[in-house]
C-alpha cells in the first residue's frame, strides 16, 4: 500500500498520481486489447474465435495480476493460478529470457479444466525479470474419453484429456516442437491444436513487445509506480464498497438437481460478511464433491466469486490483484466447490452457475434493495448432437449452450433469453446450423409464462426444438434446473423450471432428465429443450396495469395468470 498516502487536511487515502494512473490504465488496456485481438483474430478454433472463450493478462514479477481482458467471467482471475504454478515450479531467479511456459492441469497448475490451456511468457528489461504476459484459451478437444473432453459422467481427471503441469514450451527462444507434438497428438485434432498453441505463444510475444514500448515511453520507474497506484486504487475502490456493507451477514442456499450421476440434490450454501475489512465468502453447508464432473477446482471457484463481487459491488472495477486481495474464500477440501484430486472437473461451469446464484442470493440480505437481483435462468444447458457428416467425411459434433431468463431488479424486468453469470457465448444461427449439420430446427422461441411474476417480471426462458435428419444421430445433454426453479426476491415469484423432451408433440413423446448421455435418435426424432425463466422482483400486485396488459397481449402471461397480478380476466 506504499502508493497510498494520507493527507492531513482530510484524512482520506489518495493515490500518488491519479491522472498518471488513469492514463496508465488506458495504456494497459491497450496492451490487453492488442493481445486479445491477436488471439481471437489468428486462432483457428471456433471456440476461441467466435465464442471468445479465452482471456489475456499482465502480471508483475511477483505473479500479481496487473490487468486482464476477460471475454467470459469464468476466466476472471483464472490466469493467476497458472502464473503462480509456473513461479512455484520455476522460481523467478531461474527464469531466463527467451522462454515461455505451458500448463492446464487443475490440480498441478491452477487450471480451470483441461481444455483451458495457458501460456505464460516472462518479460525482461536490462536482464531483469519485470513482468509476465499470459493467456488462456479453451481448446475444442484435449483428448480423454469423449470428443470435446467434457463428460458429466467422467469420474477422474484422467478421463478428461492430457494433463500438463507447468513446462517450458519455448526455451532459448525456440519453440519445443517435440513437446508441442506430444500435446497435440494426445488430442483429436492435432493440426488445430498446433495452430492455436502457436497463436497463443505469439499473442504473449505481442504483449511483451507492447510492454517494452510502454517502458520506453514512460520509463521503468514510472511504470512500476503506476502499477502500484493502479492496484492501490482498485483496492481502495473495493474497500469503500465493502465498508458500505457494514456488519450485516447474508446467507443463501440453492440446489443442483443432482451431482451429475443422478443422486439427491446438492446444496450450494453461501454466507457472506465483512471481517477485518475483507469480504468473506464461506461455503460451509455446501454438499460434498461429486462422483461426476461437476466439481469446481480452486481457480474456477475464485473466478466465480470475483465475478459475483464485481457484478454486485462495482461492475466497473478493474480486474487486478487489488480487487482480489480483499476477498477471502472459505471452502473445506472435499466439497463440490473444492474437490480433492483426482475428481473430474470438466463440467464445473454448471456448478459455478449455482455458486454465482448462491452468492447473489446471500447478498440480497446485505445490499440495498435497488442493487439486488432475482435469480436468473442460469442452468447453462449444453446440448450436443453428433453423427456421420452429411456432406463430407468424418463425424460432426454440434454443441450449443443455451441461455435462460435474465434476472429482474427494482427498476427493470429481466431480459428474455440471455446467458446469465459466468458465460455469455452466442447461439448458432438456425440457418448456419442447418447448412452445417443434418439437423432441422422446428422452433426457436421464448417459453411463454416462464418468467416469474413480480412488480418487475423475470425474463423468459427459451425453447429450441431440433429434428434429426438421419438415423444414428447421437444426443447428449448436461444441464440442471429441472427440479429447482429460479427464485424471486422481495415478494416476486419463481420462474418456470427447465424441461427436456424426446419426440415432443409426437405419439411417443417422453420427458428426459437434465443429464443425458449418448441417446440415439432416428431420422424424424426430435429433441425439445425449454430453459428456465427468471424469478420476479417485488409483489406482482404492484405491477403497473399497462405492463400486465402488454404482457397479456404479447402472450408472456396467460389470462389464468391475471389473478396472480391481482387482476380479473
Amino acid at each position: 500500500m506504499s502508493a497510498l498516502s494520507s493527507t492531513p487536511a482530510t484524512g482520506t487515502l489518495r493515490i500518488a498520481d491519479p491522472i498518471g494512473m488513469e492514463v496508465f490504465s488506458n495504456r494497459l488496456l491497450t496492451i490487453t486489447e492488442e493481445m486479445g485481438n491477436t488471439l481471437i483474430r489468428s486462432s483457428f478454433s471456433t471456440n476461441i474465435k467466435e465464442r471468445r472463450d479465452c482471456s489475456v493478462g499482465l502480471f508483475d514479477r511477483h505473479g500479481r495480476l496487473v490487468a486482464q481482458a476477460s471475454h467470459i467471467p469464468l476466466h476472471l482471475g483464472s490466469l493467476r493460478g497458472s502464473v503462480q504454478a509456473v513461479l512455484q515450479r520455476f522460481p523467478a531467479e531461474t527464469i531466463k529470457p527467451g522462454s515461455a511456459f505451458i500448463c492446464n492441469d487443475p490440480y498441478l497448475a491452477g487450471g480451470t479444466h483441461m481444455p483451458d490451456i495457458s501460456i505464460v511468457t516472462p518479460m525482461f528489461t536490462d536482464g531483469e525479470l519485470r513482468f509476465f504476459t499470459a493467456n488462456i484459451a479453451h481448446h475444442s478437444d484435449v483428448g480423454g474419453s469423449v470428443p470435446g473432453s467434457i463428460s458429466a459422467m467422467a469420474r477422474t481427471v484422467f478421463e478428461e484429456g492430457i494433463r500438463i503441469p507447468p513446462m517450458l514450451i519455448v526455451e532459448d527462444g525456440r519453440l519445443r516442437e517435440d513437446l508441442l507434438d506430444l500435446i497435440a497428438q494426445n488430442t483429436r485434432e492435432p493440426e488445430e491444436r498446433i495452430l492455436d498453441l502457436k497463436v497463443q505463444v505469439a499473442t504473449n510475444d505481442r504483449g511483451v513487445a507492447a510492454l517494452h514500448g510502454l517502458v520506453r515511453q514512460m520509463g521503468l520507474a514510472a511504470v512500476e509506480q503506476a502499477v502500484e497506484d493502479i492496484l492501490a486504487y482498485t483496492a481502495l475502490r473495493l474497500k469503500m464498497r465493502i465498508d458500505e456493507l457494514g456488519d450485516k451477514r447474508g446467507s443463501f442456499v440453492c440446489h443442483l438437481d443432482d451431482d451429475g450421476s443422478g443422486g439427491p440434490p446438492v446444496p450450494i450454501a453461501t454466507t457472506v460478511w465483512v471481517e477485518n475489512g475483507n469480504l468473506v465468502i464461506d461455503f460451509a453447508g455446501t454438499g460434498p464433491q461429486a462422483k461426476g464432473a461437476l466439481n469446481v477446482p480452486a481457480s474456477a471457484l475464485e473466478a466465480t466469486v470475483f465475478y459475483a463481487a464485481k457484478a454486485l459491488l462495482d461492475p466497473q472495477l478493474m480486474p487486478n490483484e487489488g480487487m482480489m486481495k480483499a476477498i477471502e474464500i472459505r471452502a473445506e477440501p472435499g466439497l463440490i466447490v473444492n474437490a480433492r484430486f483426482p475428481a473430474a472437473v470438466g463440467a464445473r461451469s454448471i456448478t459455478c452457475q449455482k455458486v454465482a446464484r448462491s452468492i447473489f442470493g446471500a447478498f440480497r440480505e446485505i445490499l440495498p434493495e435497488d442493487r439486488v437481483l432475482s435469480s436468473g435462468g442460469d442452468d447453462l444447458a449444453t446440448i450436443v448432437f453428433s453423427a456421420r457428416h452429411a456432406r463430407r467425411a468424418g463425424t460432426y459434433v454440434y454443441l450449443e449452450t443455451l441461455g435462460g431468463g435474465g434476472p429482474a431488479s427494482r427498476r427493470l424486468d429481466g431480459m428474455n433469453a440471455v446467458h446469465v453469470h459466468v458465460t455469455n457465448t452466442s447461439n448458432l444461427p438456425v440457418e448456419a446450423l442447418e447448412n452445417e449439420y443434418p439437423l432441422m430446427v422446428d422452433e426457436y422461441a421464448l417459453v411463454e409464462r416462464s418468467g416469474g411474476a413480480g412488480e418487475r417480471r423475470g425474463g423468459l426462458g427459451l425453447a429450441r426444438q431440433v429434428t434429426a435428419l438421419q438415423d444414428g444421430t447421437i444426443f447428449s445433454a448436461r444441464s440442471d434446473g429441472h427440479k429447482h426453479p429460479a427464485t424471486g426476491v422481495a415478494g416476486g415469484k419463481e420462474g418456470a423450471t427447465a424441461r427436456l423432451y424426446r419426440n415432443y408433440g409426437l405419439a411417443d413423446q417422453e420427458p428426459l432428465s437434465s443429464k443425458v448421455t449418448l441417446l440415439t435418435l432416428n431420422k424424424g426424432d426430435n429433441i425439445r429443450i425449454e430453459t428456465p425463466g427468471a424469478g420476479g422482483f417485488g409483489d406482482p400486485k404492484r405491477r403497473p396495469a399497462e405492463a400486465v396488459q402488454a404482457d397479456l397481449e404479447d402472450g408472456f402471461i396467460a389470462p389464468e395468470d391475471l389473478a396472480l397480478y391481482g387482476r380479473s380476466a
Binding site: 493527507t7 482520506t12 493515490i15 491519479p18 491522472i19 488513469e22 492514463v23 488506458n26 495504456r27 488496456l29 491497450t30 485481438n37 483474430r41 489468428s42 483457428f44 474465435k49 467470459i72 467471467p73 497463436v199 514500448g213 515511453q217 486504487y233 481502495l236 475502490r237 465475478y307 464485481k310 457484478a311 461492475p315 437481483l373 463430407r392 443455451l402 441461455g403 435474465g406 427498476r411 431480459m415 428474455n416 433469453a417 440471455v418 446467458h419 446469465v420 455469455n424 457465448t425 447461439n427 448458432l428 444461427p429 438456425v430 440457418e431 448456419a432 442447418e434 447448412n435 432441422m440 430446427v441 422452433e443 426457436y444 422461441a445 421464448l446 427459451l462 402488454a550 397481449e553 404479447d554
Partner: protein
C-alpha cells in the same frame, strides 16, 4: 457549373460548394433543424447560393448525408411495424444472439424489440436449407393476416422467412399480396433487402428498414420538393453507409442503408484527400462534441464491414468500418469516490454544452480544459460568432477537478486532456491491432470540430509519425460527399465446398448480379463508360465459422485453382497462416455496382495564401506540458499561411470550423491543396 455537398449533423448542417470551372471550394454552415432536417438543407442552400452569387440552374450535382433513419431508430420514432415470419420463429427478434450486452452490469439491457410480440405474426411455411419448399404457403392464411394488419393499423411490415436468401418465393408471394391489398403499407422483404444467411441479423436489418421506411419517405418527399422549389435542376443524391451515393427512389426502398451516412462520407473523403497528399495508409480521426469516429484506410481504400449495429441493433448491410467511442469536446471530467479522475462517458453534448460556451453547462468538459490551457481561443470561436467565457471554464476546472485533486489549475486541465487522449489513442490502437496493422506506417487524418485539437498528442500516444489536417476539418463529411461514387451492394449466399461445379455456379451468380446491378445503374442514369463492378467471394476452410474476402476482378478469368490460390493468400494476410490440405467452403458472393462520379480533385487547391507575418493573428501563452509551463505561441489564420513552407511548433492554427494544436516538438507545412501536414518529432507525453 457547381457541385454541392451537404452533411446534416445534430447541431450544424455543413455545406461544401465546388466551382467546377475555377476549382474554388467554399464552405458554409447553418444550424440544423431537427424537427424537419430538410428545412436547414433548403434554407442553407438558398443562403449559400445567394452568398456566393450562384444561380440554382448552375448546380450540376447535389449530394447529402443524413441522420434521419438513424435518429428514427435511436429515438424510437419509427412507424408502427409488424413482422411476418416462419412459424416457430417469431421470437428470434427478441432472442437475438442470446447474449447480454454487459458481462457484469445487469442494468444494461438488450435494446427494446422494435416490433412487439403481439405484432409478430407467424406464417405456416418452410423453405429448407437447399431452397426446397417443405411446407407450401397457404395464401388464405395470408389473407387472414391482412385483416389483422389492417385492424392493428400498422404502417409498415417486415417479411423475413427462414432460408429466403436461398429461395425468395414465399416472401415474394406475401409481399405482392400485401402490396395489392394495402397499397399504402410500407413493405420490406428480407430477400429484396439482404439475401444473406444468418436469420437474426437479416431479420433485424429488415425490421429496421420497415420501421424507418414510412417517415424516411416523408422526409425525402419534402427534401426533393424543397430542392426543386429552389430551382435546382438535380434531384439530390444521398450518401449511404458504404460511402456510395444513391438516388431518392433507391433510398425510399432501402432507408436502413443510410444509417452511417455522414461519417462514411468523411472516411471516403479522407481517403481521397490523404491519397492526393501522398498518404495511402491513414487512420481517420473525426472528433465531434460527443463522440470520436475512427476508421482505417489501407492502400487508399476505406475498409468495409457488414457486422455493425445501429443503436445496438445489428445492421448487416455493408458499411464503411467505423469505430465509435463516446469521447468528444463535450465529454465531462469527474472524480470517482476513490479520487480517480475520469473523462466521459457522460457528455454535456451541444446542450447544455461546455461551461465556456455559456449555454447553461455546469460540468467541466474537455473543451473547457482546452480553453483553460489556451489551446482553444479563450475569447471567441467560429470566427467571432461564439463568445467564450474563459473565467467560467477556469472556475469549474478549479472547483471540480484541481482543488479536489490538490493540483494547480493547469495541471488539472492538462490531466483532463491526457486522459482524453489516452482514451482516443486506445480506440485507434484497437482498430489497428484488430487487423494487425503497424501504426508507425500510418498517418492520422484529423477532422471534425475537435479532431485537430487532439490529433498531435494522440498521434504521439500511438506512435503515428504524421498528422494531416484538411481544410475546414469541421465540414469534411460534406466535402466527402463530393468525392464519392454512386454504388449499391448485391449479395448471394450459397454455402458449399469449392468444386468445379460450385465454382461454375459462382460465375452464374456474378452474371446475375451484374444484370441486377446494371438495371439499377440504368435507374440511376449512369453512362455505360462510367460503370464498374467490384466482385468478392467470401470463403472459409471447412469447420470455420467466419469468412475471408477474396476479390474476383471482372476483367480476369479466374478458374477454381486460381481462386483457391487467392483464397490461401487472403487467409494468410488476414490470419497469418494457411492450412494446405483443408477443403475450402464458399459462403457469399458479393457485387458492388459502381457509377463513377467525376471528382475533379485537382481543383481542390488552396487559392489564397500569404506570408507567415500576414497569417499571424496574435501570440498566446499556451500550456502544453507540465514541465514547460505556459509557452508563448503564435496563432495563425489557416488560409493565409504560405504554402509548402516548413514551420516549427509550437503553433495554433485557427479557421472557421476548427483549431489545430501543433505542439513544440514538431514541424509542419501547408501543402498545395491546403492540408496542414505535421511531423511529430517528440515522443509521447
Amino acid at each position: 457549373m457547381y457541385r454541392i455537398g451537404v452533411d446534416v449533423g445534430g447541431t450544424f448542417t455543413d455545406f461544401t460548394l465546388l466551382n467546377e470551372t475555377s476549382g474554388e471550394v467554399l464552405f458554409y454552415k447553418v444550424s440544423s433543424t431537427p424537427s424537419d432536417p430538410s428545412e436547414a438543407i433548403r434554407t442553407g442552400t438558398r443562403a449559400l447560393l445567394d452568398e456566393f452569387s450562384v444561380k440554382p440552374e448552375e448546380v450540376s450535382f447535389m449530394g447529402h448525408g443524413t441522420t434521419v433513419a438513424t435518429n428514427l431508430v435511436i429515438e424510437r420514432k419509427g412507424s408502427r411495424t409488424a413482422l411476418l415470419t416462419t412459424k416457430g420463429f417469431r421470437d428470434v427478434l427478441d432472442i437475438g444472439r442470446q447474449t447480454r450486452p454487459n458481462l457484469y452490469d445487469y442494468q444494461i439491457q438488450k435494446p427494446a424489440v422494435l416490433v412487439p410480440r403481439a405484432l409478430r405474426f407467424e406464417v405456416d411455411e418452410r423453405i429448407t436449407v437447399d431452397g426446397g419448399v417443405l411446407r407450401a404457403i397457404d395464401m388464405a392464411q395470408v389473407d387472414d393476416l391482412i385483416g389483422k394488419l389492417k385492424a392493428a393499423e400498422v404502417k409498415a411490415v417486415a417479411i423475413c422467412f427462414l432460408h429466403a436468401y436461398r429461395n425468395p418465393v414465399h416472401e415474394a408471394m406475401v409481399r405482392d399480396r400485401l402490396r395489392e391489398a394495402m397499397p399504402d403499407l410500407y413493405v420490406t422483404a428480407s430477400s429484396d433487402l439482404l439475401p444473406e444467411f444468418r436469420e437474426f441479423e437479416r431479420l433485424s436489418t429488415t425490421v429496421l428498414n420497415a420501421y424507418s421506411g414510412p417517415r424516411m419517405q416523408t422526409y425525402l418527399d419534402r427534401l426533393s420538393d424543397g430542392v426543386q422549389a429552389l430551382g435546382v435542376p438535380m434531384a439530390p443524391y444521398t450518401i449511404h453507409s458504404n460511402g456510395g451515393l444513391m438516388s431518392i427512389p433507391t433510398v425510399r426502398q432501402f432507408p436502413v442503408r443510410t444509417c452511417l451516412s455522414g461519417p462514411a462520407a468523411g472516411v471516403v473523403g479522407g481517403a481521397v484527400v490523404a491519397g492526393e497528399a501522398g498518404f495511402q495508409n491513414v487512420i481517420t480521426f473525426d472528433v465531434g462534441g460527443t463522440s470520436t469516429d475512427v476508421s482505417v484506410i489501407v492502400g487508399g481504400q476505406p475498409q468495409f464491414t457488414s457486422s455493425r449495429t445501429v443503436a445496438d441493433y445489428p445492421v448487416k448491410t455493408p458499411m464503411v468500418d467505423i469505430h465509435v467511442i463516446g469521447a468528444g469536446g463535450g465529454s465531462i471530467a469527474w472524480l470517482d469516490d476513490a479520487s480517480a479522475l475520469k473523462v466521459g462517458p457522460f457528455s454535456a453534448g451541444a446542450v447544455p454544452g461546455p461551461v465556456a460556451y455559456g449555454r447553461g453547462g455546469e460540468e467541466p468538459t474537455v473543451t473547457d480544459a482546452n480553453v483553460v490551457l489556451h489551446r482553444l481561443n479563450p475569447v471567441t470561436l467560429l470566427r467571432g460568432k461564439l463568445e467564450v467565457k474563459e473565467q467560467a471554464a477556469r472556475d469549474v476546472i478549479e472547483q471540480k477537478v484541481a482543488a479536489p485533486l490538490g493540483l494547480p489549475l493547469e495541471e488539472a486541465a492538462l490531466g483532463v486532456l491526457r486522459i482524453t487522449n489516452a482514451n482516443m489513442g486506445r480506440a485507434i490502437r484497437s482498430v489497428s491491432t484488430e487487423r494487425g496493422y503497424d501504426l508507425s506506417t500510418f498517418a492520422l487524418m484529423a477532422f471534425g470540430g475537435a479532431g485537430p485539437l487532439h490529433a498531435c498528442e494522440v498521434a504521439a500516444e500511438c506512435g503515428i509519425p504524421t498528422v494531416i489536417v484538411p481544410r475546414e476539418p469541421g465540414t469534411m463529411c460534406a466535402r466527402g460527399i463530393l468525392l464519392s461514387d454512386i454504388s449499391l451492394d448485391f449479395v448471394r449466399t450459397h454455402i458449399a465446398a469449392a468444386t468445379l461445379e460450385t465454382w461454375a455456379q459462382v460465375g452464374r451468380y456474378f452474371d446475375e448480379m451484374r444484370v441486377d446491378g446494371g438495371n439499377w445503374l440504368n435507374g440511376e442514369k449512369v453512362a455505360p463508360e462510367m460503370r464498374r463492378f467490384l466482385q468478392v467471394v467470401e470463403a472459409r476452410y471447412e469447420g470455420q465459422n467466419f469468412e475471408v474476402s477474396v476479390a474476383i476482378p471482372t476483367d480476369e478469368a479466374i478458374d477454381l485453382d486460381g481462386f483457391l490460390e487467392r483464397f490461401a493468400e487472403a487467409h494468410r494476410v488476414e490470419y497469418g497462416y494457411v492450412i494446405p490440405d483443408r477443403k475450402v467452403e464458399l459462403v457469399n458472393c458479393r457485387t458492388k455496382a459502381l457509377g463513377l462520379v467525376p471528382k475533379p480533385y485537382n481543383d481542390f487547391q488552396a487559392t489564397e495564401a500569404g506570408t507567415v507575418e500576414e497569417a499571424l493573428l496574435e501570440t498566446r501563452s499556451v500550456y502544453f506540458k507540465a514541465d514547460q509551463g505556459r509557452v508563448t505561441t503564435p496563432v495563425y489564420a489557416r488560409e493565409k499561411l504560405p504554402l509548402e513552407t516548413t514551420l516549427s511548433g509550437p503553433a495554433i492554427v485557427e479557421e472557421m470550423s476548427s483549431t489545430t494544436v501543433i505542439p513544440p516538438a514538431s514541424k509542419f507545412q501547408v501543402d498545395r491543396a491546403g492540408n496542414i501536414i505535421i511531423s511529430i518529432l517528440g515522443g509521447a507525453q
